[in-house]
Amino acid sequence: MLNEFLLGVGVVTGLNAFLALLLVLAERTLSHYGPCTLTINDEKKLVVPGGQDLLSTLKREGLFIPSACGGRGSCGLCKVTVLDGGDPLATEIPWLKPEEIARHVRLACQVRIKHDLRLQLPREWFAIRQFQATVVSIRDLTHDIKELRLRLVDPPEIEFQAGQFIQLEVPPYELTDEPVYRAYSISSPPSNRREIELEIRYVPNGLCTTWVHRHLNVGDPVTFNGPYGQFVLRPGNRPIIAIAGGSGMAPLKAIFLDMAEKGIARSARYFFGARSRRDLFLVEEMKALETRIPGFQFIPALSNPLPEDRWEGETGLITEVAARHVPDASGAEAYLCGSSFLIKAAIAMLTERGMPRERIYFDDFG
């Protein structure tokens, strides 16, 4: 009886091992697509090994596609035009508009390279590079926002436009066993090419924010790639209305510092919201810009000031404060950065006051 039982166990185990071996062999042979050629914008050709996803393959070739989730298909950022890549997968459909599907737009992280592909990529992506840097300072801006200053090592300089963002690489640590990437706006002006600053708010259990807030130290090496994004100051002379909250300060700080350095004199009102005094930061630095940029006004507001704050400034939600100051927004343009709720409320407020929707610029984190 025991022998029969052991024989049965042996047969089942052997069968499982055989099937596992078959799967491994199938993986190595059937899914071996050989070298494939990627033709980019009908100009550049890259010969790459088949079988891998497009996002990581392009990264290995030094072409960085914007992505905030590291290729999990959960951010919808890595949209590329793949002219002969087939239909989008079910995992891509929620991210793609019908017109994008018609134009053969795909999520690069979901496209597996099985044959030669023709790609259309925006030219500005060719300027995106990977950078090695060193943490030179970490400063507490508030109880949950840290300012990170990075000195570039290789390459030693970066060119970017004020308002753009980078993707910070989080190395393997206790919350992740492989590198992950998260997007952060650069808060320093482009004039300093050797260093960049980031403002990073702690998100409970966030893979990157936990690493930055709990593990990263001055002197540590870090890797990032960039720059990315179109959230930059548009040329012209229209008055500017900027609205931000929390770590949404970062790109607007860079834009206004850049304006001050370049002597751009445009009427600008910057509304920045926080809950109480302990959540407010860089007030003196922003106020100082009022003397450097003719027509610039920094208007901080607290939604719930504490008695000990002795706050005499504006109070209320930042969109309510901005609404009190801006009865007519029809001639202005707006720059918004913060939570998706803030952006939604600010868009509603501004369009009610006559601002055309196309003159409202923001970083869409939704």
């Binding site: 959960s74 951010c75 919808g76 259990n205 966030g206 893979l207 919201g273 939604s303 719930n304 709720f341």
Partner: protein
């Protein structure tokens, strides 16, 4: 409890790197059916339902949204902040659509305790009775939710 092929398929989708980076199960090696059954029993012992817990979570989520990313006071003694980060998450139980990465942080000022949960977790608890596996960094213990959010059985 016997695990159906459907649950086995869902459990596979919950592993790290399938739908999300960290997955939904943590270090929990039990069949999904057992994970669900244990939490079901816990919630029943507390005299509650998954729907009642999810409704309370959604209540704070809705109140917190008014802060536009900043914390707001919710009577009688809660501080709630609702914010989001870039990205969306799919339901591992294969419901269509994606849930934005919006998190709700509820601080009970009376007890000093805080819980944080996402839009997806409100759905997972309300519609599937799933609180994530043991060892998952995002697991929500039913007892903790009930205590911090002060959820009481309906009379």
């Amino acid at each position: 409890m016997k695990q159906s092929p459907e649950l086995q398929k869902i459990q596979e989708a919950m592993r790290p790197g399938r739908l999300t980076k960290t997955g939904f199960l943590g270090s929990d090696s039990r069949p999904l059916a057992d994970i669900l059954a244990e939490d079901e029993a816990t919630v029943a012992r507390l005299g509650l339902t998954h729907a009642a817990i999810a409704t309370r979570m959604a209540y704070f989520r809705e109140k917190g949204e008014a802060g536009l990313g900043l914390a707001v006071d919710v009577p009688p003694h809660f501080e709630v902040r609702v914010d989001g980060v870039r990205g969306r998450l799919p339901c591992p139980f294969a419901h269509p659509g994606l849930y934005p990465k919006i998190f709700c942080q509820v601080h009970n000022q009376k007890t000093g305790e805080t819980v944080t949960y996402s839009d997806l977790q409100i759905h997972l608890i309300g519609d599937h009775g799933f609180y994530e596996g043991r060892g998952s960094p995002y697991r929500l213990e039913p007892e903790t939710l009930v205590q911090v959010l002060e959820i009481t059985p309906e009379e």
